[in-house]
Amino acid sequence: MRKKILIITVSLLLILSLAACADTDVVGNESVDSFEKVLGAMENNVAEDEMNGGWALTSPDGRERFIWSKDYSAGTPHDVMLEFDAKPFIDAGLDVTKLPEGILIEDKIMVGSNLGDEELTYDGGATPIGSYEKLVELYRDRVKYHADLDHYGVDVGDGNMFEWAKDMGINDKDIVFVVDPKMFTDAGVDPVIVEGWVFAKVKVMDDAGKPIEVDKFLKPFSIQ
């Protein structure tokens, strides 16, 4: 009996200590390396975005941006966000008056989330990858691994994502902007005629872990 209790106790302790161990977060850690490679490959498309208090990665066609904060205490509306041209959607029937407030800024659509209000500090100053590391460290649940495409991604909220290939060498979709179409279709957009965006079914897990297929606007780019 004592042996049994010992085995159970040791095992439970091991489980708890493992759960607390960040080193076992291979997806989080690997995503940092992978994102760094993407940033390296798009060096010219990465810049500081003072207005949004963070860093922006602009798509090769210059119409979309993925923005992540370098300091969550800065009071910007979004800590992670996607920004993209409204025109293709307006051309496809978007009634801008039907969009929720704050989504359309000038000719850009912005979707994102406010993560928190932590003041981020960096050894040797903030860098794009350093800010991403902070994101992984503080809001790991926002970082996803998309097994079907072998992509990592940052969930910017409301079904919108920025994804990038785990291994750009073997993946034809190196970065992908993923936008939930509901808001747009509700506002009159005919999803199949949005120029530059692919309206497609994407396999995801619902909250219960059930595999489901949902509609998404996708804009993939090959950067290598």
């Binding site: 049994k4 085995i7 159970i8 095992s11 091991l14 489980i15 493992l18 759960a19 076992t24 977060d25 291979v26 997806v27 690997e30 649940d141 970082v143 996803k144 691994y145 097994a147 072998d150 785990k166 897990m205 219960a208 872990g209 059930k210 595999p211």
Partner: protein
């Protein structure tokens, strides 16, 4: 030539018993070895000049199993305690294993069975935190592997000894699952998150848990198969009251020695066998004879261990103790029978010997075939594991011995001692059954019914002389005459000359008178005319009475007729046997008329009369020569040659006499209904064995191709190794459960 029984440990399936038989059978000096998986015992005959028990035990140890000598006097409870310990250990192992297997399965499968909405903490999400998910599974698997470590130690040792067994299959299957899973974890740690699909820890964990559950259930069920022997063992009292220097001392039964004077009070059990020195009582000996009517005991009478003293207080002297008592002999007989093998088991034994290597071969070939055929490594590995795990040599190994254990145990419960698997199997093939008359069909206690004399000879004179001549005779007819003379208070004379003529009678000289006492044949041989009494003799014979002719001075002097009473159960038993399709015959040394009269009373048509004891076996041989399977039912003493010659010898009588040595089946009671019961029990047991073997073979023949992906080949599902493990465990348990159905067997009444 020595013969010993060893207790074997570490056997898990028929391949183990086959391995031990092979290894020890090859040893110089070993004549014969029979290993029984169900009783976990080996009976070995060996030449003591060429080898010894220690060498044999050592060789068994080298083969990967434990062996120890079974001491005759070993306490019954020790075996029981050992079994209980084994069951407790298996339960603990299963419990530990299950405690970790349930969360392991939950974590591993929970995310896949989303419709049940099992909440999985986010830090264990297999896609987002695959390493946490994997390491947790490793942590949960380790205690399970520890609980099932015997599968690995025994299984791999068996492989090294080139005698793979069931444990080897489990060890190889789960090792493959664990090693591949560890490789997958390595891959995950290196960023290949898809490797999360290659985790098989839960498969290994649940397989071990299910097999442990199966082993536990098997152990419990196995224990129930030997309940009959435990019941017999439980009959013996634990203590005895020994009288020393006039004082009473209560001592453990093991300390009672031959010559001790023992006191038994009313309501107590007799502790050992002995002879009554003082007191009168009646004793219930139903545990020995099956007869529920208590037997009166007085000074000089035998008493037997475990029989119940009803009303008087007696002092008796211990004559047989420990393993020598009648009860111990019965237990030994039943144990030997339970440990013996039936010829029907041979095929299963042969198959078991090759089973594991063949299964391993099939697993490897299937793995390669699917892999080369384009399936993934994970798919092919699933096939490999499922085949190793589903294959169940244990069911094959248990099919026969468990049924024999329950069958012989059930027989013992009803006072039918079947002396081995072979006897049990042969009995169901019997188509002809020969009954001895005296003491078998009849009570065997004949009484004098008529005394006929010729003119000039007094009735009492004839009885007195005949009784004097027969005094000391063990022949039932002689005993009847002596009893009659005693009843009439006749004083017996000294016999001057005595000559026994076996099967015919005796020749004596009393008070200077030469006398011949015997049957008609003897009188004819001695040219003694019977004409004067022939008519009376015929009438007596027609009434079923046995006439004994008495000649004095070479001249017939008279006839003393003796009649035996037919047992109450004889008619019913013979009718039952005939309704079962058996041909029933009666054999006797009596004259034909008497024999036919008795046969008519009980419904037997075929009568073999006037057969000398030494010729009885020839009559059996003749019937065997006609292609019949013959059973001989007799009292086991004067019918010994016929009992031995018959395919099955059935002795009627108590377990205290020579009958136990000479027959294949001993009926403890004198009730002839036990004969059809024994045959029916044999039929039921053999049917049960056949069912067990069928299911054991069918299970493997169907299970292995399914595990190999046969259904998948035609668009069907692939067998999950977890279900394979569950099926494997259930197959052994179902065979045991089927054997236990025999416990419901009811004797004919």
């Amino acid at each position: 030539m020595g013969k010993d029984t060893l207790k074997i440990t570490g056997m898990t399936c028929a391949a183990c018993s086959a391995r031990i038989e092979k290894v020890i059978g090859k040893m110089e000096g070993v004549d014969e070895i029979s290993v029984n998986l169900a009783t976990e015992k080996a009976v070995i005959s060996f030449d003591q000049e060429k080898t010894n028990l220690n060498e044999i035990i050592e060789r068994i140890g080298k083969a990967g199993y434990g062996a120890s000598e079974v001491k005759e006097k070993k306490l019954v409870d020790e075996d029981k305690l050992q079994k209980e310990r084994e069951i407790r250990t298996l339960w603990t192992k299963f419990a530990v294993s299950a405690i970790f297997a349930v969360p392991l399965l939950y974590v591993a499968m929970g995310s896949m069975i989303w419709w049940l909405r099992f909440p999985i903490p986010s830090f264990l999400d297999p896609m987002q935190f695959p390493l946490n998910y994997s390491i947790l599974q490793i942590v949960l698997t380790i205690p399970i592997v520890i609980a099932g470590y015997r599968f690995y130690t025994v299984g791999y040792k068996a492989i090294i000894n080139r005698s793979p067994n069931m444990d080897s299959l489990i060890a190889m299957g789960t090792t493959a699952a664990i090693v591949y899973s560890l490789y997958s974890v390595y891959e995950i740690a290196n960023g290949n998150f898809h490797a999360v699909e290659g985790l098989y820890f839960e498969t290994a964990g649940v397989i071990i848990t299910l097999i442990l559950l199966g082993k536990f259930l098997e152990s419990v069920t196995k224990g129930r198969t030997s309940e009959a022997i435990k019941k017999l063992m439980g009959l013996a009292p634990k203590t005895a009251i020994v009288i020393r220097d006039g004082k009473e001392y209560e001592v453990p039964i093991e300390e009672v020695e031959i010559g001790h004077i023992i006191l038994v009070k009313p309501g107590e059990k007799i502790p050992v066998d002995g002879v009554v020195l003082e007191g009168n009582t009646s004793i219930d000996e139903s545990m020995l004879t099956g007869e529920s009517i208590p037997v009166e005991k007085k000074t000089g009478d035998q008493v037997y261990a475990a029989s119940l003293n009803k009303n008087g207080m007696i002092h008796f002297e211990a004559t047989k103790v420990g393993g020598d008592t009648a009860l111990a002999q019965i237990i030994k007989l039943v144990e030997e029978a339970q440990g013996s093998k039936a010829p029907i088991a041979q095929m299963a034994d042969i198959v078991s010997g090759y089973f594991v290597p063949i299964v391993f071969g099939i697993a490897v070939v299937s793995f390669l075939a699917w892999f080369i055929g384009g399936e993934s490594l994970v798919f092919s590995l699933t096939i490999f594991i499922a085949i190793l795990v589903i294959a169940c040599p244990c069911a094959l190994g248990l099919a026969t011995p468990t049924a024999i254990m329950v069958g012989t145990g059930k027989g013992a419960e009803y006072g039918i001692l079947i002396k081995g698997g072979e006897a049990l199997e042969t009995t169901h093939k019997i188509n002809t059954i020969i009954f001895d008359k005296t003491g078998t069909i009849t009570e065997g206690k004949p009484e004098v019914t008529d005394i006929l004399t010729i003119t000039g000879v007094e009735r009492n004179q004839l009885l007195q002389l005949a009784a004097s001549a027969e005094k000391g005779s063990e022949h039932p007819l002689g005993e009847a005459i002596v009893n009659e003379a005693e009843k009439e208070n006749l004083e017996l004379s000294k016999v001057d000359h005595f000559n026994a003529i076996p099967g015919h009678g005796i020749e004596v000289e009393i008070l200077g008178i030469p006398m011949i006492l015997g049957n008609k044949k003897l009188m004819t041989e001695r040219n003694i005319s019977l004409s004067e009494l022939e008519q009376a003799s015929n009438s007596l014979a027609e009434e079923g009475k046995t006439p004994m002719y008495i000649a004095m001075n070479q001249k017939i002097a008279g006839i003393i007729a003796v009649a035996d009473v037919v047992k109450a159960s004889s008619v019913k038993a013979i009718e039952k046997l005939q309704s079962m399709g058996l041909e029933v015959a009666m054999i006797t040394g009596d004259n034909r008329r008497t024999a036919e009269a008795i046969a008519k009373q009980v419904g037997i048509v075929q009568v073999l009369a006037e057969v000398l004891p030494q010729d009885k076996s020839n009559e059996v041989k003749k019937l065997q020569a006609e292609g019949r399977k013959v059973a001989m039912v007799g009292d086991g003493i004067n019918d010994a040659p016929a009992l031995a010659q018959a395919d099955i010898g059935i002795a009627i009588g108590s377990g205290t006499d020579v009958a136990m040595e000479s027959a294949d089946i001993v009926l403890m009671r004198s009730d002839l209904m036990d004969v059809p019961t024994a045959i029916q029990l044999s039929k039921s047991t053999i049917r049960n064995i056949k069912q067990n073997l069928f299911w054991a073979f069918a299970y493997n023949v169907i299970g292995i191709p399914i595990a190999a992906g046969l259904l998948h080949l035609f668009g069907g599902p692939l067998l999950n190794p977890i279900f394979a493990a569950a099926a494997m465990s259930l197959s052994s348990v179902s065979v045991l459960a089927n054997a236990l159905r025999l416990k419901r067997f009811k004797p004919y009444k």
